[in-house]
């Protein structure tokens, strides 16, 4: 039996998710046969099997996260299945080389930062520092400065002066607080000045625990502070600074580009969505929609597609070409849904949404949301959108002025739906009310057209039966 542990297939990865198994227990595998697809922080990767034999165990289920250097698959190499042609005696060759038992060294890589905690080797004694840390640092500094002085003595006096000048810098470097790079990074991330932390490591170095306990103490101090607001402190302490990176940076750029190239016009309409709520309730009970999440967003998505077909200039883009600007009106709808994800704001889109029926659209919306929430949205899912919806109602907000997704000319904001007093036939009755907000690129969509589009979307929410027309 040979256990194959998950290797580090990137540079410094610590874990991967099982995307799909390509083999099952009992299957015969050959050397280099693809047996699993994993998703790392960097990419989807197919793993080729290092041994020939029969699969006796898969150590994780699809969707599970596996730590690097922990078991992935077990293969019985004595399965005595025929060796693959063209590779002479691969099983035999491998038997000597493959890690068969714990005594044999395993793969050379794949022992990432998290790996060795579970396989830490027993110690009889801890190495002792040759002297106490301060003395050690001092002895290092003096060893170096002595060396410098020794060499300097044989040089001209001019050079000696230069070396003397360098001494403090060298001593300074050697005197630096000791800490491993990950610990330095942790301190930096926590905003802890590592020079303030007392090191308790065997070499006097600052350890992870030291940083954490320093931080815990600091947090306790913070908790004792009466309020968040800074009173009478230095100006610097009154402002919290965060580096703008990653998706935040991309979002910021996209929003600035959009807001400053496309002149936005925003309009709003209140809608009585009671019938939509009834319709959604009916769909939920319907057998066709069993197991599928149905929400008013589904009706809105359908309404937007329907209304865009009647007012197609909202489903377009403004394109600058060498021969001047062009308007590209799309005869298809890649419907974008803005989603708050662990990675930040993303706008994945449903390709060719116009071709989907209600059930397919519901499934597509579910998949899109699940993928986005899991942080697995792929770049191609975000490319080529033609019109977007942002569901701010999910956060309990009534309405807002959305900013158009770059490359598109219209976006619809879906506010919360709540019961409000509404006048029907001269009487105040409780109804399910929502507000739709829309922003349009005025270069492409004029006021009357955006109004007509929004009115059309609203009419469907008011009476979903109109979709049957």
């Amino acid at each position: 039996m040979t256990v194959f542990n998950l290797p580090d297939v990137g540079e410094g990865l610590t874990e991967a998710d099982i995307a799909s198994w390509k083999v099952a227990v009992g299957d015969t595998v050959e050397v280099n046969q693809i047996f699993v697809e994993i998703e790392t922080a960097k990419s989807l990767v197919e793993l080729p099997c290092p041994f020939a034999g029969v699969v006796t165990a898969l150590h994780a289920a699809e969707g599970d996260t596996v730590l690097v250097d922990t078991p992935l698959i077990t293969i019985d190499q004595d399965g005595n299945k025929p060796a693959p042609t063209g590779t002479p005696e691969p099983a035999e060759a491998l038997a000597t080389a493959a890690p068969q038992a714990s005594e044999e060294p395993g793969p050379l890589v794949g022992s990432g930062p998290t790996a060795d905690s579970s396989v830490r080797r027993a110690r009889t004694n801890r190495p002792k520092p040759s002297s106490d840390p301060a003395q050690l640092r001092a002895s290092r500094a003096s060893a170096l400065t002595e060396e410098i002085s020794r060499r300097a003595a044989s040089l001209s006096s001019a050079l000696t002066r230069e070396v003397d000048k360098a001494k403090p810098a060298v001593a300074n470097f050697v005197d630096r607080v000791l800490a491993k790079p990950p610990v330095r990074r942790l301190a930096k991330e926590l905003g802890v000045d590592i020079n303030d932390v007392v090191g308790t490591g065997s070499q006097g170095e600052v350890t992870r625990e030291d940083v954490n306990s320093y931080q815990a103490q600091r947090e306790a101090e913070h908790a004792a502070a009466p309020t968040y607001w800074a009173h009478g402190e230095l100006a610097d302490a009154r402002t919290e600074r965060t580096q703008v990176r990653g998706v935040r940076k991309a979002t910021a750029k996209a929003m600035v580009d959009s807001a400053f190239t496309a002149p936005h016009v925003s309009i709003f309409v209140d809608v009585d969505a009671s019938r939509t709520m009834e319709y959604v309730a009916r769909l939920k009970k319907s057998r066709d929609f069993e197991g599928i999440k149905v929400s008013p967003l589904l009706v809105l998505a359908r309404a937007v597609i329907w209304a865009a077909a009647r007012n197609p200039s909202v489903n377009a883009s403004w394109v600058e070409t060498e021969n001047g600007a062009e308007i590209h009106q799309k005869r298809f709808m890649n419907l974008g849904i803005a989603a708050a994800t662990p990675r930040g704001l993303l706008v994945p889109n449903i390709k060719d949404a116009q071709d989907l029926n209600m059930r397919e659209l519901a499934t597509a919306l579910n998949e899109l949301a699940t993928t986005a929430r899991a942080g697995k949205t792929k770049p191609e899912d975000m490319r080529g959108g033609t019109l977007s919806i942002t569901n701010i109602g999910a956060l309990g907000i009534d309405t807002g002025t959305p900013i158009i997704n770059p490359g598109e000319v219209a976006i619809v904001a879906f506010g919360t739906i709540r019961q409000k007093p509404w006048v029907v036939d001269g009487e105040v009755v409780p109804r399910w009310i929502t507000t739709l907000g829309g922003s349009f690129d005025h270069r492409v969509v004029d006021g009357d057209l955006s109004a007509r589009f929004m009115a059309d979307v609203a009419s469907i929410l008011q009476e979903p039966a109109m979709l049957l027309d």
Binding site: F4, N5, P7, D8, V9, G10, E11, V31, N32, K42, S43, L44, V45, E46, L47, P48, C49, P50, T85, G86, T87, P88, P90, A93, L94, T96, A97, A98, E103, P105, G106, P107, L108, V109, G110, R121, A122, R123, T124, N125, R126, P127, K128, S130, R140, A143, L144, E147, P379
Partner: protein, 377 residues
């Protein structure tokens, strides 16, 4: 340089559909290419591809720290490598596995570096094939310096002696390295001192995720004019064209006329390294557009249409390639892992108090494990 480079300036002998074209200048450099040689070119390219595949698998199995795939660039490497003489000196980057094959560097030995147990893996003096250089373009000033040293050694040689016995240098780099400062410095030096260096740039269109358009708005070969050296733009997926232009360039350099710049237009069909995912930054349409230009396909088409091979040739080659791959795998797994203590000897040429102190600490640390008696890991 008064005229912009156009597609017509691309030297091509074998078209993507396997047609052999005539060429006024370069046909003379292909006069000795017979059926045996053509078959050996194909064999070298196929073996390189199979080796690449096996090394990629070994990385995915945790046996290599990293691998740098070469798939798609075999013709540029085999064609240029086969144009060199054993006495010529090669400075590779880190993707030149095919060139290494033409210099008879063992595929197995090349894996020591990627297995993380050696800083090199082969003796560069044996095959005149330098260590892989991980720092981009760092090898280019070395190449210029080597070429200048050759000129000193060959001072006073007449043209005939230079042509017969003279040495030359081939420096390999990519479109990404071409914009490193060292590339520029190296070419200025080599040209000023007529160093016999062939600058062989494999433009594989992508510097990890940076597309070629970001490196240069014009074909790279146009830079050669700026340095005052001849520049040749060649179809890098055409092994015959690459062979011919590299032979021409080596002849030029060897004769004392100075360096030559070659831009081999090719495409990296796979990832930059095993830690890279090209689907994140390039479109599958682009990959599909390049797939039919595969260097192996066009030579296979040519060989088959001219009845220079039969099915048995390819079957035997596949068997040989699998055997080579199995041997490489076996060798790689059997490499002894040098003890970490060895590394301390390689920091300074002479003993050093700080290193000695760190070595002592390391030995004490290693001895402190309960299972230390079982030996070094």
């Amino acid at each position: 340089m008064t005229r912009a480079v156009t597609e017509e300036d691309l030297v091509q002998i074998l078209t993507p559909d396997g047609q052999r074209l005539a060429h006024d200048i370069y046909d003379a450099y292909l006069a000795d290419v017979d059926a045996d040689m053509l078959r050996s070119f194909y064999r070298d390219m196929a073996l390189t591809r199979r080796f690449d595949q096996e090394a990629t698998a070994l990385q995915r199995q945790g046996q290599l720290c990293l691998w740098v795939p070469v798939r798609g660039q075999e013709a540029a490497q085999i064609g240029s490598g086969r144009a060199t003489r054993p006495s010529d000196y090669i400075f590779p980057t880190y993707r030149e596995h095919g060139v290494a094959l033409t210099r008879e560097v063992s595929f197995s030995e090349m894996l020591r570096l990627f297995r993380g147990i050696s800083g090199g893996g082969w003796d560069p003096r044996e095959n005149n094939f330098h260590m892989y250089t991980m720092v981009l373009a760092a090898q280019l000033p070395h190449a210029a310096g080597y070429g200048m040293a050759l000129n000193l050694e060959q001072h006073g040689w007449d043209e005939a002696k230079r042509a017969a016995e003279g040495g030359a240098v081939v420096a390999y780099f990519g479109d990404g390295s071409s914009t490193e400062g060292e590339a520029h410095e190296s070419m200025v030096f080599a040209n000023s001192f007529d160093a016999p260096v062939v600058y062989f740039c494999q433009n594989n269109q992508w510097a990890i995720s940076v597309p070629f358009e970001v490196q240069s708005k014009v074909p790279l070969v146009q830079r050669a004019a700026g340095y005052g050296m001849p520049g040749i733009r060649v179809d890098g997926n055409d092994v015959l064209a690459v062979l011919a232009v590299t032979r021409w360039a080596l002849e030029h350099a060897r004769s004392g006329k100075g360096p030559v710049f070659i831009e081999a237009v090719t495409y990296r069909l796979g990832a930059h390294t095993t830690a890279d995912d090209p689907t994140k930054y390039r479109l599958s349409e682009e990959e599909k557009a390049w797939a039919p230009k595969d260097p192996l396909i066009r030579l296979e088409t040519y060989l088959r249409e001219n009845k220079l091979v039969d099915d048995e040739f390819f079957e035997q080659l596949a068997v040989d390639a699998d055997a080579m791959a199995a041997k490489v795998r076996e060798d790689a797994m059997a490499f002894p892992v040098p003890p970490l203590a060895k590394s301390f000897e390689q920091v300074y040429a002479q003993a050093h108090p700080l290193i000695q102190e760190e070595l002592d600490w390391h030995l004490q640390y290693e001895a402190g494990f309960a299972d230390a008696a079982q030996g070094e890991h």
